[in-house]
């Protein structure tokens, strides 16, 4: 058996050494460097921002920050009213947008005739709304919720309603995607046992879509937590020295108290602002972690 002769006689080179040209190899390397640089830019910027904020705010990052209310004296100034204001607004608008959003997603995905003009118009509308700048929602809220017909004034209720409108399209779109991703075989299996449409949706489709719905909704809520523009128009940019007690209360939120503090002439107030940024970041990261945990839990169990 003459192995050598076979290799030599074939149309391939007589060895298996790398035949790639040096030019091609260096192009590979350059491309990799470009990718590294891009990643580095993103990571470094974030790292630098967090670092400077931490350095500035570290001195004020203590318990009094979260137990005290805003005060004319920087050493006493705290952000408790903003934390509670943010929680009030975000939790109420989160629940409202989850219920309304999931409801409309179920209707559009499971019941509406997907080929009809009206359904397509609604779908297009919702997708467009998801991209509307938040300040537009603020103006809308100012005209129709704070003033005008509803006349709720500058209150938690107004802010919650406006943030609900803002988050709703995101929840609807992501919930629809999650419902769409439920395999048809699951529905067929359920229908084949005599289950009704609603039984199938409630007991099979929604449970299977929970990870997607939860992820989308929590991401929408994090957006509401960091939102400032519409709330500037709705009276949140104020010194509020008490926690909200209901939908009618005055309120402020973390992003706006940060804005107020960081614009102050006094260094000490700017330090409070930096510390508030860290609190907001911690809240945002915990929300995102919650989304990941919910997603993994409901996936892992099956």
């Amino acid at each position: 058996m003459n192995v050598n002769a076979d290799v030599v006689g074939s149309r391939f080179a007589p060895n298996l050494r790398d035949s790639t040209s040096t030019a091609r190899k260096s192009r590979d390397k350059i491309f990799l460097l470009v990718l590294w640089f891009a990643t580095l830019c993103a990571v470094l910027t974030l790292f630098f921002l967090i670092l400077t904020t931490l350095l500035k705010g570290a001195g004020r990052l203590n318990l009094s920050l979260v137990t005290n209310f805003p005060s004319p004296f920087p050493e006493d100034a705290g952000i408790q009213s903003a934390i509670f204001g943010s929680l009030w607004v975000v939790i109420t608008s989160g629940f409202a947008s989850l219920f309304i959003g999931l409801g409309s997603a179920i209707y559009l995905e499971e019941f509406a005739n997907s080929t009809s003009r009206i359904t397509r118009l609604i779908t297009l509308n919702i997708q467009t709304l998801a991209g509307v700048p938040s300040i537009v929602f603020g103006i809308l809220g100012l005209a129709f919720v704070a003033r005008g017909w509803l006349g709720w004034g500058f209150s938690v209720g107004t802010a919650s309603a406006v943030l609900t409108m803002m988050v709703l399209p995101v929840v609807v779109v992501s919930s629809r995607e999650a419902l769409k991703a439920v395999p048809p075989s699951l529905r067929e299996g359920s229908y084949a046992l005599g289950a009704t449409k609603w039984q199938t949706i409630r007991k099979q489709v929604i449970p299977a879509a929970v990870p997607g719905i939860a992820t989308g909704s929590i991401l929408g809520v994090s957006r509401a937590l960091g939102e400032s523009a519409p709330l500037i128009l709705l009276g949140a940019l104020a010194y509020v020295s008490s926690n909200p007690s209901g939908f009618g209360s005055d309120y402020t939120v973390l992003p706006l108290i940060i804005m107020k503090f960081t614009q102050d002439a006094q260094d000490e107030f700017r330090a409070v602002g930096a510390a508030a940024i860290i609190v907001l970041l911690v809240l945002l990261v915990s929300l995102n972690l919650l989304a990941i945990v919910i997603r993994d839990r409901s996936r892992k169990s099956w």
């Binding site: 699951l186 529905r187 067929e188 046992l193 005599g194 099956w302």
Partner: protein, 302 residues
């Protein structure tokens, strides 16, 4: 009963009866008797009359007249795209779920037209169960998979449900393998076990007829053998209609066989399925009356 089933399970495909050679495939003699002997005891359970299915304007399958008898397994065979599965799905109104599908003609089940005013799709599917091509267990525990059908069709007590789950799993020859892990995910089972779970799930609502759409096409030969043995076991209680691509399987398990083929009608551009021949399995595989049937089963077509 469990012992009996174990025996059947261990025996595999080849032992239930002595095969007789007919055009390259073996037909079991015990299948042949009931179909061949013109026994007047044959009780008809379902019958399709001039059944036709359109998808939109496309005629997918036409002129299907066949009968399903008590204590028998009816096999639907034919090349891909000939409408076997479409016809099967007419037998429990699963085609209702496809918006473009339009069924004409009638399917008479125990004197009632499934597509008439006296038939509700949910009730039809509860009486006429279905097992799908790919095992499609619900993302729930083994127990909850089997219990789903009874639960959506009534409110059985905890004890009733437990008894029903045990009985169904025993009937599907799966009990011994899963009795210690009923709370585990159905996805922890092997493909063959999952398919038997789907059969158990279908049997749990105590159907009158069982439809199987290529139930073994995703399974290995051993798992296939178990399902086939199971079919023989239960056909006395549950008449079965099975779609299969595997002619040996049709010959092994069925009492009657319907051969479908595709034809391009004069006024159409796409092929339409037609029922070429419907007869006892023995006749179809040994002396088919239509030359197309003979070509197909001897491997010259399809």
């Amino acid at each position: 009963m469990v012992e009996d089933m174990n025996k059947v399970m261990n025996s595999g495909v080849s032992s239930s009866a002595s095969p007789s050679k007919v055009i390259g495939v073996s037909v079991y003699s015990d299948n042949v008797q009931s179909a061949e002997g013109n026994t007047p005891a044959l009780e008809m359970i379902m019958e399709s009359q001039d059944l036709k299915v359109h998808y939109g304007s496309y005629l997918a399958v036409r002129d299907v007249n066949l009968q399903v008898h008590k204590n028998e397994i009816t096999a639907l065979i034919g090349p891909s795209g000939c409408g076997k599965s479409t016809i099967l799905r007419c037998f429990n109104r699963m085609n209702d779920l496809i918006p473009t599908a339009k069924v004409s003609g009638s399917v008479i089940y125990r004197g009632i037209d499934l597509y008439g005013p006296d038939a509700n799709a949910g009730e039809v599917r509860r009486r006429i169960g279905m097992v799908f091509q790919k095992p499609n267990p619900f993302p729930k525990s083994i127990f909850d998979n089997v219990a789903f059908g009874p639960r959506v069709n009534g409110k059985p007590s905890k004890q009733e449900t437990e008894e029903l789950v045990e009985r169904s799993l025993k009937r599907a020859a799966l009990w011994d393998e899963v009795k210690d892990r009923l709370k585990q995910s159905a996805f922890s089972l092997s493909g063959g076990q999952q398919q038997r779970l789907c059969i158990a799930r279908a049997l749990a609502v105590d159907p009158d007829v069982l439809l199987m759409d290529e139930p073994c096409s995703a399974l290995d030969p051993i798992a296939t053998g178990r399902i086939e043995d199971l079919m023989h076991e239960i056909k006395g209680e549950y008449p079965i209609v099975i779609v299969t691509h595997n002619m040996q399987q049709a010959a092994r398990v069925s009492n009657r066989t319907a051969f479908f083929n595709t034809e391009v009608d004069a006024d159409a551009t796409r092929p339409t399925g037609v029922l070429v021949e419907y007869d006892s399995t023995q006749k179809i595989f040994s002396a088919p009356s239509d030359p197309r049937t003979e070509q197909y089963i001897s491997g010259r077509m399809g």
